[in-house]
Symmetry: C2
């Protein structure tokens, strides 16, 4: 049995002393577009799973940290600026998850207000925003490569929980937003409707969640009172205490 302590105490790489793994990062980049939760996918341009869709990601370089690899891959593969808050939420390493070799993938969650032009990277034929519910329902519109369906499902659950316990929802909206914008984020990701008045009280009574700008937005095309504009509070990940409750009401 190969054990850590059986290895020579040298920085030199001895390929026969331990089982060699490939280590990758996979990015779950979530955003809200057209009123739905969407995720960035790339169409693979090479085997395995050539032509099918997958989460963006790639190999960790020899000299970079996991977090750095995640930030790099996000920029490289989607053309999106590196987000400040990349959240590592799991490692996936089943022996057969990649037909070529033994791969352990570290999964990261990124939450963005909007995705700019999606530039397909070198090894991706294409890059698209796809509605998450189309991918996770019982009969998915697309089969994802590898175990990316499970990774995506876990990521969505992490996002749902983070909405409960932190002020991360402000990462889904533009720099200036109305409280209705923010409430729609919760409603979209949780899949339930929230009382506008109660939501308002909860957000405004949480220190550091939002800060008023003093300005108002234009009313919508169907009229209505012009809503107040806010910005994200000082700390993007302020803990909500007590947390925002998810009731399960539709």
């Amino acid at each position: 049995m190969t054990r850590r302590s059986a290895l020579p105490a040298t920085p030199a790489y001895d390929p026969h002393a331990f089982p060699p793994f490939a280590v990758t990062v996979d990015m779950v980049v979530l955003t809200i577009a057209d009123g739905r939760l969407q995720v960035v996918l790339v169409e693979r341009g090479a085997p395995p799973f050539e032509g099918s869709w997958a989460l963006p990601g790639g190999f960790v370089h020899v000299d970079e940290s996991l977090d750095a690899a995640a930030a790099r891959e996000l920029t490289e593969e989607t053309g999106v600026r590196a987000a400040k808050h990349l959240d590592q939420f799991g490692a996936y390493g089943d022996p057969d998850r990649d037909p070529r070799m033994r791969v352990v993938s570290v999964a990261y969650l990124a939450i963005l207000p909007e995705i700019g032009a999606l530039a397909a990277a070198s090894d991706a034929r294409n890059a698209e925003l796809v509605a998450v519910d189309k991918l996770l329902r019982r009969r998915p519109a697309r089969q994802l490569a590898f175990d990316h369906r499970a990774i995506l499902r876990d990521a969505v659950e992490v996002a749902r929980t983070k909405l409960e316990t932190t002020s991360v929802a402000t990462a889904f909206v533009d720099r200036e937003f109305t409280l209705t914008d923010l409430r729609v984020v919760y409603e979209t990701i949780w899949g339930e409707t929230l009382d506008a008045g109660n939501f308002r009280r909860k957000v405004l009574s949480t220190p550091g969640f939002v800060t008023p700008t003093g300005y108002r937005a234009q009313p919508g095309p169907e009229g209505g009172k012009p809503p107040d504009l806010y910005r994200a509070g000082r700390t993007r990940l302020a803990p909500l205490d007590p947390p925002m409750r998810r009731t399960g009401r539709r």
Copy 2:
């Protein structure tokens, strides 16, 4: 740049096609002994960090899943029976975390009611239970090998949060326990005192948390009313809704 899609679509291992990593699992095995939160450590019997203390762990085998490796290492290194609930909580992969080679370690949390005889495994000189606060305070009693101090700190925070949101506390106590036993678990891990009456109401009003046995324990050496005995509820990880609140009171 080496990318996943640039690799040949073959299961064969080509050591030049991707940066080779070693993948390990590290186990944070927590228990409560002598009224304190304690963790299982092993004294390393080989370089690097020979003679210093570390979390038990080791290389993932080529053909086993991460979870299986964690369960195997736990049994092998500590002689402890494989716990049902091994909780993966993070991957640690800084380039310089192991002086020998590039290692990514997947960290697991195990919670046990008591640790039997600690049998030092082949590559460990020794195995011991050590109080967690002695390791995490500003001037630690022992320096841990690698980045195991950071891993331990993260694990403790995960355990604290799991006490809030799940009924995992029953994993710290014996099969039959009193509600005072259970409350002491919270008080020990959170480092604060809880009102016995309110704690009782909260636990008993949570479906699936505990089930009464109908029996009573003997009173303590200083007398008192004999306390009712309970067992863990049906689901060891029942979600607490609303969660148990951690107030920060001492």
